[in-house]
Symmetry: C2
Subunit: 483 residues, 2 copies
């Protein structure tokens, strides 16, 4: 006998449904956003972002309360978000960075719940592993087709890579793409695939592309920074890192950007090519790529318009998502391949712990970014920093807040000398036989203190205003309210 049943029901041809909605106000009604939901947006436009305020304004008018906002980071474009805390719209914030007026507001205790600060890899991990659930992602996309395929490098306001947004699109319950360039033609290559998109709305403008280049990615003219860069290049040289198919990432600080220039000279001299450069991509990197010195650019975030245009035009300039970039739970993450990363620091202590989130006054003024991710994944992590900034020591007995554990930092290069983490005997041994003079980090701290004097103690209350989450999901530090 035949136990198999034909159960086909004839539905004929597919009925096509449109995801395109007339305006965002109507869509928000359709979405039935409830109090205490989690919404996300991305910061690929950095200071030029228009989406965050656009969405929050409407939600505020609708009287929504107690939302968790979960942007990939916050910038000066969100400086006035304190008003949404006061109105009760924002109940919690998770972000990579926090600066300016909002940073001040948070540090002075405006928000009841502590802000959760995550690295770019940590945020991706939290989403991928389900620690955080995004109810609705509002994602600005410079170019989007009617089915929802979207990318960041075409259209009127290109921002380049949508590396952070890609993760939100993949995991959020509902995904709304906001675009100012909606097309009938299929948007290929896509950053965000149509199958991750539920709704599409056309708006006047999603961002100001000229503002994607923030202060953190300026060019380097400061002689102190150039000196540090030169010393760093020397360390890299002596450690023989510049070999064929090596890989590197330079952070967004001045010195670390200048290092790229020295790497260039070294590659030309040795006649070797880098396999890839990783992370936030700048025009400097694009130049190295177009010169043929760096074979591939792996771009999670385009730091300037030169990078945006390269992503569009250069076949070997690749967009990667935050999980591919730096997610510890992702067995193929790219930071785990890095030969060397050069990072900056607001503070570093004698245990090599690094603070990149709070200033010397204890107030939020930085971002976790890919700092702890690249430090842990790279073979060699070099932190570059001036020994003092103005009248403030960078190298200290104890950092105010730990973002990156000292166990993952290998070398500190300052304008007053190079210190190596004692747990990297291999590096110490190599540098001992070289022209690079190693100095004990405790001596650096003393030198700094001699210049600046003992730092004044900060008056904290016992209210926690921030939790710094390490990339594996554990809490590595707390940030307290400043009186």
């Amino acid at each position: 006998m035949d136990r198999y049943k034909i159960n086909f029901k004839d539905k004929g041809k597919i009925k096509r449904k449109s995801k395109v909605r007339k305006n965002i106000e109507n869509l928000i009604d359709e979405l039935e956003i409830k109090d205490a939901m989690t919404i996300s947006f991305h910061h690929h436009f950095r200071n030029g972002d228009l989406i965050g305020s656009m969405v929050m304004d409407i939600l505020d008018r609708k009287g929504i309360k107690n939302l968790t906002i979960f942007p990939s980071s916050l910038t000066s474009a969100h400086d006035d978000f304190g008003k949404y805390i006061k109105s009760g719209l924002i109940g919690k914030i998770c972000t990579s960075g926090l600066r300016g007026k909002l940073g001040q507001d948070i540090s002075s205790g405006l928000l009841e719940e502590p802000v959760v600060v995550r690295s770019h890899g940590g945020r991706a991990r939290a989403i991928v592993q389900g620690d955080e659930k995004i109810d609705i992602a509002f994602l600005g996309a410079p170019h989007c087709d009617v089915q929802g395929n979207a990318n960041g490098f075409e259209g009127n306001s290109p921002c380049g890579s949508l590396g952070y947004a890609k993760v939100d699109a993949k995991y959020a319950d509902k995904v709304v793409v906001l675009t100012d360039d909606l097309t009938e033609e299929i948007a290929m290559p896509y950053s965000i695939p149509a199958y991750d998109v539920d709704y599409i709305v056309e708006v006047d403008s999603i961002g100001i592309k000229e503002k994607i280049m923030s202060g953190a990615t300026r060019s380097v003219t400061n002689p102190k920074e150039l000196l540090i860069a030169k010393k760093t290049a020397q360390v890299i040289e002596e450690l023989n890192i510049v070999q064929n198919n090596f890989s590197f990432q330079t952070g967004s600080g001045g010195s670390s950007l200048a290092v790229a220039q020295f790497l260039r000279e070294s590659m030309i001299r040795k006649d070797v090519k880098a396999d890839f450069a990783l992370g936030g991509i700048t025009g400097h990197m694009v130049n190295l790529h177009e010169e043929g010195l760096v074979k591939k650019l792996l771009d999670v975030q385009s730091f300037d318009l030169s990078a945006v245009s390269s992503l569009k035009n250069n076949k070997n300039h690749f967009e990667i998502d935050a999980s591919f970039y730096a997610d510890i739970s992702n067995p193929g993450n790219a930071v785990n391949r890095l030969d060397v990363v050069i990072l900056s620091a607001l503070e570093i202590d004698t245990k090599f712990n690094v603070n990149v989130i709070t200033g010397s006054d204890g107030v939020f003024r930085g971002a976790s970014g890919g700092h702890s991710d690249t430090a842990a994944g790279s073979k060699v992590c070099i932190v570059v920093a001036p020994l003092v900034r103005g009248r403030i020591a960078t190298v200290k007995e104890k950092v105010l807040n730990i973002v990156t554990p000292g166990s993952t930092i290998d070398v500190l290069v300052t304008d007053h000398g190079v210190a190596v983490n004692p747990n990297r005997k291999d590096i110490i041994d190599k540098l001992k036989e070289s022209k690079v003079k190693i100095i004990d980090i405790n001596d650096l701290r003393e030198m700094a203190e001699k210049i600046t004097g003992k730092p004044e103690k900060i008056n904290y209350t016992d209210k926690v205003v921030g939790l710094i989450e390490y990339r594996d999901g554990s809490i590595i530090d707390k940030v307290y309210q400043v009186k």
Copy 2:
């Protein structure tokens, strides 16, 4: 009081683990493959595939029993798989296609369990929605780096798109990449991302690239096929499908390939460009693309070496996965955007139902492919077929087996006339006012029968040897054992 606990445990730098294993025999021991598991592989090498037999041979020697094999399709490279049925290694088969000796074996009842035949979109859907769980995917990749990023268009044996394999990589419990080109350099762009890959093994050869061009994609010289193609072009012309940014797919049969040539002339005459061509990509499509007539190629499977090299070199030749291509559960699937698809048929009946899986003797000799997917998704689906083949009618009262329901087929073009599905009044109305003469499909059947006579009845047993699953997961037909 402070309810937040610091719970960071310092693990220092990341310890890198290698996924690379020395040889496949050892790996298979490590994998602890058990009886009745489901394993998969892909058919991107078509008749040149070496992976299927390589893996099955070892598993057979290890005495494994009752596996479900779940390849994206089976080709002549797997013609001798009957021996693994006899040995007890294979307990069940799920595939898109079944031909040659293995098709004969199955049709004559060698395998106890019925073969499950799925379309390319249906297979992706079954995986994505969890109807089928792949325990271990053995995926041949022409180029792979040490972390597992892999693609199909670099290396010594490129096969082009890995569109089917991408879905397996994403959803299988364990993913093994077999490669004959393992590199230290990062393999970007990747088809399969490292994070989907658990193990990598280097083998001597994964496939014979010259054999990826199968008989199904030959060039067209047959005058009957050219006549059908010309009539099809006329229908497309009269329906005014060739407009700026239209999209199309041509199947792999001779006539449907020839249609591409007529489309070219039409585009040049009208001075319009297609937005994209979809599906299995051939050198014909590449020519149209390089000529600037088709803006983008969306490639789930590269049908010849010209397509392989285009995928590598042409910026707007994109690899897509089977779910993006045709998965009904994927709201952004590409078949839903198609303006027109041209498909072939082994048989078509007066209700427009199409058989592309069994021959006129009832024996497996075809493949479901993207047939039912594109038929359902496209605005206009045209089936092209000669009225008779040799002494056998193509248009019949009732097809032996239904793969694609007639409700999704819009037009039938034969060398003896054009029939339109009565449910497409819009098409009938347009063609009535044109030079295309519409003929009733029942009349076509009569004409065919006059030429061939009544077909002899096939002697089936009551044993079910195949279940044809429609793209939504329902069973649309059963295939019976042939005496």
